[in-house]
Symmetry: C2
Subunit: 151 residues, 2 copies
DNA sequence: CTACAAGTTAAAGTGAACTTGAAGTCAAGG
DNA sequence: CCTTGACTTCAAGTTCACTTTAACTTGTAG
């Protein structure tokens, strides 16, 4: 098996569409070398990189944020375990915060809505102050006001 | 205080922009009567309705799904506690599922990524089979394949 | 009467994350 | 030589949840 793999191979093994991989490359999230034909050739390590991107998306990071994280990886060297570990250090808090919110919402589900008291004045569950801070046009950044997010 | 309130009043009290309220009305999520001038007049109960919409969005439902939920409310009658309770019955499971996933991701953060083993083959954490089921164009429906979602 | 605020509609724009389509290149097989 | 398949680029399209803009009408205050 070759050290360099094609885009369709990466797509097949990662489950991410080739068009998405090109898109990520445009965004600077991944890089490729080129074969003589101009076709992309990826080093094996790109699979881990793509896995990381998918993982980070599930947690709720936007591609822009992911790009910022990836920029912290060592240049020129294939990243190793400790490099990845550094990147993910702050994420735990983020996950915790989201879990806490969901638990708050679930409590409100049986309490606030269940009893029928749901109203703007009395129930702040769904309205944790972030609606005040709008950010111009576009979608509401999933209301967290911080970044995109996942179910 | 009047029984019918203006759109700006609803916007002020709910924290939802007037343009968003009109948008919700276009989508059939809320309704309004009209003053002689053609201006919208909302019954007070709309505030609870809007609170419900915001709440449901935080949980991760799309407006379309929310519309489907609201369609289950009794027609012609102002919904009461038990009506709301019925709507929110299935949501708890959804919240639980999302919390479970986040906990799985957090575990992977210290385990899979932390140790550097992260790869497509060995680590299925970020790739729970839903990437297989694409749904044509547009954004990836936040990968759950089910619906939009929140951080 | 004139101003002005507050509302109306319809259409177009926004941002994220991609996908799709058009048009072209390149290597291998028959 | 011709076709096929895999790839390329670039531009435009798609979805969602809105916002913004433009042009217009109405009600109230001075």
């Amino acid at each position: 098996m070759a050290t360099l793999i094609t885009i369709s191979e990466v797509a097949r093994r990662s489950g991410v569409a080739a068009s998405a991989l090109r898109f990520y490359e445009d965004k600077g999230l991944i890089q490729s070398e080129r074969a003589g034909s101009g076709h992309r050739r990826y080093p094996r390590a790109v699979l881990r990189l793509v896995a990381f991107i998918v993982f980070a998306q599930r947690i709720g990071l936007s591609l822009e944020e992911i790009g910022a994280e990836l920029a912290k990886l060592p240049r020129g060297r294939v990243p190793e375990g400790s490099d990845w570990a550094k990147l993910s250090a702050t994420w735990s808090r983020r996950i915790d915060a989201r879990i806490a919110e969901l638990e708050r919402l679930r409590a409100g589900l049986t309490g606030c809505i269940g009893c029928g008291c749901l109203s703007m004045e009395r129930c702040k569950l769904a309205n944790p102050g972030d609606r005040a801070a709008r950010m111009g046009a576009g979608p509401r950044y999933w209301i967290t006001g911080m970044s995109r997010s996942a179910t």
